[in-house]
């Protein structure tokens, strides 16, 4: 799998999401729960805005000096007995990892959840050389058994219900118990325990690499990252080049922001920080350690107006507040990075050509920007994307033609604005003159400068979509 998860056209994917009642229900309640968690934690801290400010300053400083800190990181990893490979492309990363696995004659590889390995399509590469690859994160394991792509970056199997999971376990693993989450999880524990113990190679992602000591921090709840980093003798960590902080002190601040913003926890159950190979006489941990640092299009974003998109710490807070994501679900974005950050990042990493519709998958309500713990101006970047697409296509006044496709079809349609949720409605209120919005505040400005558009109504996206499907404009 690469960054794209499907070849189906947008319209079809959106339709799929909307027809899937369970998925929509699940997404909506997950969004609510995650959001409440985040807000409670923010409130409890009292000075959440200061925390966000600090987060932004740390990320800016790091990215401004990314070459310096990556240099330092690689030096420190080497001092601790590790190998470092700088991969400019997905292929380079895959080839390097493939060679390590081959050299070890490894039959089985266990993995922790890692977006970057999905992005570069690592599993496929390893399976092609005959290695068995086992995803050990519960949600990822379920999806792997079912050969389904993830739909959310924190809870990847969000679109599956327990009955479906039970059936998968039955069909693929001979499971014969009930569909209670506890029994399902305990079955996964037994099954995966064997995999941890027999794996030759462990592969992890990286939440934050710490330059000053050559360490890699993994943020998890299930304990699988601990297993993967403790049991196999060979370990490979794969990081997007921007997943970096200068020191432990910076790591600490960002982890605090991440766990609060992602799941509303003060800390997750495991913050695992590993440094190089195991030391003399130690038993747990690898004796052969590799860090693979992946560019794969990220460097093109440096030095551009989109640089701050690289500040992202993958907390999914922007996804959890997004009214569009709520309606269409993760798969509709056709990217392993869904939601607002996916809409910003995917065209940057993979080009506009295949992802032109994404920047339109937003009502520009700015809830994402407000939620972001490192203050990435997501909605402004979406507006910039739209401007660039329009310029590129040299079709002015813009919108109409491109917007006839996929997402754009509804996002651009005046009626589509009626899908904007309460958030947008109440945000718009003071500026609503009769039925039209003129010169809205911040988030709407980029849009309303170009043209006035109808105020969001009370019709739901679903009813609009249904009507639309039945024919003609809603």
């Amino acid at each position: 799998m690469s960054i794209k998860i499907s070849e189906a056209p947008y319209k079809e994917r959106i339709g799929k999401g909307i027809d899937n009642d369970f998925m929509r229900q699940a997404v909506s309640s997950a969004q609510g729960r995650f959001r409440n968690g985040r807000l409670t934690q923010a409130e409890e801290l009292g000075n959440w805005e200061d925390w966000r400010q600090l987060g932004e300053e740390i990320r800016s400083h790091t990215l401004e000096n990314i070459d310096y800190y990556l240099y330092q990181l690689s030096e420190e990893v080497e001092k601790r007995g590790g190998n470092v490979f700088f991969a400019e492309t997905a292929e380079e990363a895959n080839t390097y990892i493939e060679n390590v696995v081959k050299k070890k004659n490894a039959k089985k590889v266990v993995k922790t959840k890692s977006m970057v390995t999905e992005e570069i399509g690592l599993n496929k590469t390893l399976e092609e050389i005959g290695a068995e690859v086992v995803e050990s994160d519960l949600g990822e394991w379920i999806l792997q058994l079912d050969e389904d792509p993830p739909s959310h970056i924190v809870t990847p199997a969000l679109h599956k219900n327990r009955q479906q999971i039970k059936n998968t376990f039955q069909d693929k693993k001979g499971y014969d118990k009930s569909d209670t989450p506890e029994e399902l999880a305990s079955f996964a524990r037994e099954q995966l325990r064997q995999d941890f113990l027999t794996a030759d190679v462990g592969i992890t992602g990286c939440n934050f690499a710490i330059a000053e000591s050559g360490s890699v921090t993994l943020v998890t709840n299930e304990g699988n990252a601990e297993m993967v980093t403790s049991l196999p003798d060979t370990q490979i960590s794969v990081m997007g080049m921007e997943r970096l902080v200068p020191t432990w002190e910076d790591m600490e601040v960002l982890v605090s922001l991440l766990t609060r913003a992602a799941v509303g926890q003060k800390l997750t159950s495991y913050i695992t920080t590993i440094t190089g190979t195991r030391l003399e006489e130690e038993i747990d941990g690898p004796d052969d350690y590799h860090l693979v640092i992946v560019d794969n299009g990220r460097s093109k974003i440096l030095g551009t107006e989109f640089q701050s998109a690289l500040h992202c710490i993958r907390c999914a807070a922007c996804i959890n507040v997004c009214p569009v994501y709520r309606h269409v679900g993760g798969h509709a974005y056709n990217s392993i990075y869904p939601g607002p950050i996916g809409a910003v990042l995917t065209p940057l990493l993979d080009g506009y050509e295949d992802h032109k519709e994404l920047p339109y998958a937003s009502s520009l309500c700015a809830a994402c920007t407000e939620a972001c713990p490192v203050k990435i101006p997501l909605h402004e970047q979406l507006i910039r994307h739209r401007e660039i697409i329009v310029e590129e296509e040299k079709k002015s006044p813009a919108s109409e033609k491109i917007m006839m496709k996929g997402f754009a079809q509804w996002a651009s349609n005046p009626a589509a604005y009626k899908l904007s949720t309460k958030v947008a409605r109440s945000a718009l209120k003071p500026w609503t003159k009769e039925e039209y919005v003129e010169n809205g505040p911040g988030p709407l400005k980029g849009w309303t400068d170009v043209r006035d558009f109808p105020a969001p109504g009370k019709q739901s996206f679903r009813s609009w979509w249904n009507k639309r499907q039945k024919g003609g404009e809603a």
């Binding site: 300053e57 990314i66 130690e282």
Partner: protein, 233 residues
């Protein structure tokens, strides 16, 4: 070759940033705000224990407080509660100071006791895998999040807190700090002094869990299912 492709990779980054490559003399700026130092700033040790105790409820962890003289009896009660038939413990220098060496000797009359033994190699993992309860010391304890920071070494393997179904952390009162800020600060300062961090620092907060099935909280996935913290005065 331990480091590969670095030069071309980094010079490309510098070029995109529109400046020469930086190899030295970058220092972190004074950040304009430092809210992390404000949390529980003037709390006394007692108040921090209160915070820790309260948060244990949220993280599905049993909280017990005792003193050195009563530690053995307290630990025994916890183990009985878990119906432990076998335990594995770190070979920590503090075992003696806290009377745990004697306690383990005593316990071994009734249950299988394994003290981590580097000379046995991987056998330690095999034992940990089939053992009911793991026991080790917290090196730094974070009141805010209810977290024990475990620094591994040759006498204190990661498997102890990870593989058994139940885990008991012995928390010396003086290891309790307000939050992760102080733990990370200590490791950072040590690193600056040339004391590099251990191969693994694991911040453990209660039992392992997952919300991956219909967003239901499941306590106990790959790591321990039950956890007890024993704070020792």
């Amino acid at each position: 070759m331990a480091i590969q492709n670095r030069d071309s990779f980094l010079s490309n980054l510098a070029a995109n940033l529109g400046r020469p490559q930086r190899r030295e003399s970058v220092s972190r700026p004074e950040y304009s705000v430092q809210p992390q130092h404000e949390v529980f700033k003037d709390y006394s040790a007692e108040e921090l224990i209160g915070v820790l105790k309260e948060h244990c409820k949220v993280i599905h962890t049993d909280f017990v407080r005792t003193d050195k003289s009563d530690l053995q009896a307290t630990l025994k009660r916890v183990l009985d509660g878990y119906e432990a038939a076998s335990i594995i413990a770190s070979n920590d220098k503090r075992n003696q100071e806290y009377g745990l060496d004697k306690a383990y000797e005593e316990f071994s009359k009734e249950v299988d006791v394994h003290i981590w033994d580097a000379s046995l190699g991987k056998e330690n993992q095999v034992i940990a895998e089939r053992t009911d309860v793991g026991i080790s010391f917290s090196d730094i304890t974070l009141a805010e999040s209810g977290t024990v920071a475990l620094m591994t070494n040759k006498d204190n393997g990661r498997s102890i807190s990870l593989m058994p179904k139940c885990y008991v952390a012995i928390i010396p009162k003086e290891t309790i700090v307000p939050r992760m800020t102080q733990a990370a600060g200590k490791i950072h300062q040590d690193n600056e002094k040339g004391i590099a961090p251990p191969s693994s620092v694991c911040f453990v907060t209660g039992p392992s869990n997952s919300a991956d099935i219909e967003m239901n909280l499941i306590v106990g996935v790959h790591g321990p299912v039950k956890v007890t913290y024993i704070v020792v005065d």
